[in-house]
Amino acid sequence: MYSYNEFDTAFLAERNAQFRSQVERRIDGSLTEDEFRPLRLMNGLYLQLHAYMLRVAIPYGTLRSDQMRMLATIAEKWDKGYGHFTTRQNIQYNWPKLPDVPDILDALGSVQLHAIQTSGNTIRNVTADHFAGAAADEVADPRPIAELLRQWSTDHPEFQFLPRKFKFAVTGADADRAVIRAHDIGIQLVEKDGQRGVRVFVGGGLGRTPVIGKVIRDFLPEEDLLPYSEAIVATYNVLGRRDNKYKARIKITVNENGLETFKELTEKRFAELKPLFGGVDQKMLAEIRTMFAPPAFRNAPTHAYDAAREADPVFRAWADTNLAEHRQEGYAIVSISLKKHGETPGDATADQMRAMADLAETYAHDELRISHEQNVILPHVHKSDLPALHAALKDQGLATANIGLVSDIIACPGMDYCALATARSIPVAQEIANRFDELKLEHEIGPLKIKISGCINACGHHHVGHIGILGLDRAGVENYQITLGGDGTEDAAIGQRTGPGFAYDEITGAIETIIKTYLALRDSEDETYLAAYKRLGVAPFKAALYPEKANAA
């Protein structure tokens, strides 16, 4: 895994010392809030509804056990004993106190973590496939590329004041588990005629105007990635609108200028930049790659796993939903659900974080991942260890067998925490999860992704939810709009609105109506909700949701 060099360590120490002095000056009155606000945001510190919120980057979602333990310590010592994992592979602390934040940043620094560029109009935390380095279907591990992008973008002088926030996502597989088509730049590692390269998507994004990214280069030799990325961001920096913050994202720039013009300008800038890179980046990449070498896999029999599957139906149900195929014979990728029915999606307590860190150390080569779906992944577990791992997870309330099912809901913090929210998200997720747990329908329904945001900013990815829920404020009352048929994978699609929204106490019933409509209309048990939706279209779901209208028509 990537390990800091002396430069990184010194840089972070100096940056934290700088912020410590800025906090002191805000508290003693030498800085006004207007002066201080941009400084705290540069260090990931927001002011939310009830308290400050600190956003910590988890680069491409990868953590070592000691880092996860430090996240637990911070939750316990300086927060209320838990943290919230987000769709951007960050962890957010909801209750830090201003005078403690410099100590928290130092604690993070001691395990090579930080909160730099987790806010502001700059290149944000680079996200990646949470199965990186482990997935059976992968062309190559995307993390060295993600780390290279991180090093290049961190404190890049030209890109500290972009027109708006800027997000990269990287995947090494055809199956898109990183939602790369909903990012400002999405990068897919590919191979063509034995040569390593990347496919580059540009101008995707959610928020107020959801757009699916477009291919700007179908194949780019890998060594051109940094100069090409720099050319794209530089072109956007020049062309991007600064007169209206809602039109300042690259998706608007690409749409307003046309992909062809945008590409032409990018290619022109690329031709100028390429010679300036001179191979230093490739040397860096080679060095970074050595740090992501696969762990020492062992060769061992797996009959303990087969026996447990045979003997224990609870274990089998968990294995069926929460395991994914590993590239290494005898190994599995384990998803730990942070979506226990009725709990807050994405939250983990300090004890749970520590338990997951210990389990990663014992069974998973010291590695953890945070998924954009707000779950935790142990990427490399030998199958013979799965029964013991499952038992240990059960003890911590972490063995919920629902990955990819109806209760594995993404929910942003919404009005329970977020100052921008127009409605709550979390309790809606809790109630839907509880409802389907009571109905005992979850496994029968099969794969289905529900995603909820508390306002149009779409932090909960509702546009790409198979069922998306958007919380709005209608005359001082919470109201929820539904979209159907969204998809965040390689078949990316933006969901279609069904019609008028539903009240807080009607929304769970509305979701139940949609799902029962699917169950009644599906071809067979093998036809997933999304496949059925694609076949049927929105009409039968609308008719079920708004029967008065259907009758009137």
Partner: protein, 99 residues
Amino acid sequence: MARAFTPKVVTGNALLEGDVVYYTAQGTWTRNLAEAQVLSDQAAADLRLTEAASDQSLIVGAYLADMAPSDTGPEPTHFREEFRRTGPSNYFHGKQAEA
């Protein structure tokens, strides 16, 4: 036509903890909405907001929030202010846990 004035309180967040705070008739800050001063006309509200917002060493982001006066003090008229007064609804946290 100007919209009819609705009663308000001055609110913001405490600088050190970030807690929701309200401005009292005495020009101090309280964490208890019942103790907040209800402002019943526009001129008074604007004046109190200006005063309150200058308290930079104690608070951040002062603004006027709509309230309905009652026997037990101001009551939020919008769900956002209800959550600010109470705390998040997914945990027993914030003001509901401190009371």
